[in-house]
């Protein structure tokens, strides 16, 4: 098991290095970061001045070494062009809002997805199963931004129950963004749990349990539900990544002050150092999350513990 954990750690370090290389090259891909930051309507002299000021006229490898040194030793991504402050603290400040939103969305997805998936499978081919399957299919097909806007239309504009944007109204303000972000994951959980339960229902041990006269309630909980949950646990791990990506769109729609919205704004503002810092931070969150999930699996699933 230790062996496996060491392997995962090495992989995570590798990925972080790759992310650093990628983040460095985002602004150098077009050849001229100075022009990328200032746009085409700035005079050539100004672009040239900015280029020398930021050191973009030095050889690429020197810049890259400098970039790495700054990040690894000082956590320095440069000064945000718009806010005139170091870029990294601006990003770090936004992390709690993003985590809050993702966690709320995952909770909703689980609270809705697990009972619905279970009911759908146990009531197979009944009306409720058909309705749930259609809803899950639609949920997997609807774009996040559209679900968000429709929720705003109904619950903020027409019914005026929830605020349409911001994070200033306590728990009320997180309801719409969290539902928006959760719909895809909830739909995926319903569909996966349904097929997983249907698989389990055909297993010999379920038939045996029923034949022994164990009450149906206990068969469902102990024999069917527990054994059907393994693929769902795997899916939940994967869905965290999807949620982190979806947060970019959700935060933009609801003006939710998280890292995702910051990335989009930084791009609009051509704030290259802030783009680098925020892309790095969100990628890092993703890597750390995946690593933690891997570690949790080794404790949950004895097969991994023994084999790897």
């Amino acid at each position: 098991m230790l062996n496996y954990l060491v392997k995962r750690t090495i992989h995570a370090v590798f990925v972080i290095l790759a992310v650093l290389v990628f983040v460095f090259f985002i602004v150098h891909l077009t050849g001229d970061p100075a022009e990328l930051a200032l746009g085409t309507d700035t005079s050539a002299e100004e672009v040239a001045r900015f280029r020398t000021e930021m050191g973009f006229d030095r050889p690429l490898y020197v810049q890259f070494a400098d970039f790495l040194r700054g990040i690894l030793f000082k956590g320095d991504f440069g000064i945000s062009l718009r806010y005139n402050e170091p870029a990294l603290p601006i990003v770090l400040e936004r992390i709690p809002a993003t985590i809050e939103l993702t966690a709320a969305a995952m909770s909703i997805a689980l609270i809705v997805g697990i009972p619905c998936g279970l009911i759908s499978a146990l009531m197979r081919k009944k009306l409720i199963d058909i309705i749930l399957r259609i809803l899950a299919l639609l949920g997997q097909s609807a774009p996040i931004f559209w679900v968000g806007i429709m929720l705003v239309l109904v619950f903020a504009v027409k019914l005026q129950i929830f605020p349409s944007s911001g994070r200033d109204d306590g728990w009320l303000s997180i309801v719409l963004p969290a539902i928006t972000l959760s719909h895809y994951s909830a739909a995926s959980i319903i569909r996966l749990l349904r097929s997983s339960v249907l698989d389990t229902l055909t297993q010999d041990y379920v038939r045996t349990a029923r034949a022994k006269g164990i009450p149906e309630r206990i068969v469902i909980v102990q024999h069917i539900f527990r054994n059907s949950m393994l693929p769902v646990v795997t899916l939940v791990g994967l869905q965290f990544g999807t949620l982190l990506g979806g947060a970019v769109v959700t935060e933009t729609i609801f003006a939710w002050p998280g890292v995702g919205r910051l990335i989009v704004q930084a791009i609009y503002n051509r704030d290259i150092f802030l783009i680098q810092a925020s892309v790095f931070v969100i990628a890092l969150m993703f890597v750390v999350l995946n690593f933690l999930i891997d570690v949790i699996y080794t404790f949950l699933d004895p097969r991994i513990r023994i084999n790897r």
Partner: protein
């Protein structure tokens, strides 16, 4: 001869499955409206008429029957824009998936057939890419290269190879050990010939199934990028940017945002329905 009867059987099963049939019918509908957009669309999608701005759909009071789904803030016909926008959406979805399919399958076959260091290297890159949220990757690249149709297609196409590569690699590794491949090696067939004649035909069904998963994902991705203003640029109508434009008028004109979003959902749904069915029918495990 056997091939043909297989195809007929597949077609017959398509008619037997309600979901798949609806999916196929919807896809056919969307593809034909996109192809025939010029003849079907009631108005020019770019024609502005400020005297007819923000007209509601025809069934609401104030609606104009010649603008069935209403007009936008510049007086352009929503229905016509949706019909033309479908061209962009379907084009991006299928072209990107094709690029991803070619790149991914090639790398998958190379990795699976050769094994060893080459395979390790390809799979390591795949792992690293999967450890990175895809939408962030796409957004960052679009921000660097600039948003336009060509860049979107190239970026989304080239970054979606991983799933194709993984599935094709796994299939290739199994096929490589088959007796008929050993026989082909024994009679001196070249590697290229073995791959083209003996391996490629047997991974096609897996490629198709992965394709039905990737097309909806790519369509959603393009719509999302366009919604964020980082995708297809005006005046070219795209469903994502139409929804984004309509967001400003959400309290006054619900139809601006609702219909393009519905169109996206229906296209994605139809490919998903067909994909689910194909996965069962071709018995491919992803």
């Amino acid at each position: 001869m056997k091939k043909r009867s297989d195809k007929y059987r597949l077609l017959k099963h398509l008619f037997d499955s309600k979901e798949a049939f609806i999916g196929a019918l919807l896809i056919l509908l969307f593809v034909s409206t996109a192809l025939l957009a010029h003849f079907i669309s009631p108005h020019d999608p770019l024609h502005q008429d400020l005297t007819k701005r923000l007209l509601p759909p025809f069934w609401q009071t104030g609606g104009d029957p010649s603008f069935l789904l209403g007009t936008d803030a510049l007086g352009r016909d929503i229905l016509s824009r949706i019909i033309y926008g479908g061209r962009v959406t379907l084009f991006v979805g299928f072209i990107c998936a094709s690029i991803a399919c070619v790149v991914g399958s090639l790398l998958g076959i190379i990795g699976g057939y050769l094994g060893g260091k080459v395979d390790n290297f390809i799979m390591r890159i795949a792992d690293i890419q999967l450890s990175f949220p895809f939408i962030i990757l796409a957004i960052a690249l679009v921000a660097a290269f600039g948003p336009n149709l060509f860049n979107i297609v190239i970026i989304l196409g080239l970054t979606s190879w991983v799933r194709f590569a993984r599935v094709v690699r796994a299939d290739t590794m199994l096929l490589r050990e088959q007796d008929y491949v050993a026989a082909a090696v024994a009679i001196g067939a070249s590697r290229v010939r073995i791959v083209l004649r003996h391996i490629l035909p047997n991974v096609v069904s897996s490629i198709i199934v992965v394709g039905t998963l990737e097309v909806p994902r790519l369509i959603l991705m393009e719509a999302t990028l366009s919604f964020l203003g980082l995708g297809i640029q005006p005046p070219l109508p795209s469903w994502g940017s139409m929804a984004s434009d309509g967001r400003v008028y959400i309290s006054a004109a619900w139809w601006l945002c609702t219909f393009p979003g519905l169109a996206i959902m229906l296209v994605v749904l139809s490919v998903n329905l067909l994909g689910d069915w194909l996965r069962d029918e071709l018995d491919v495990r992803i």
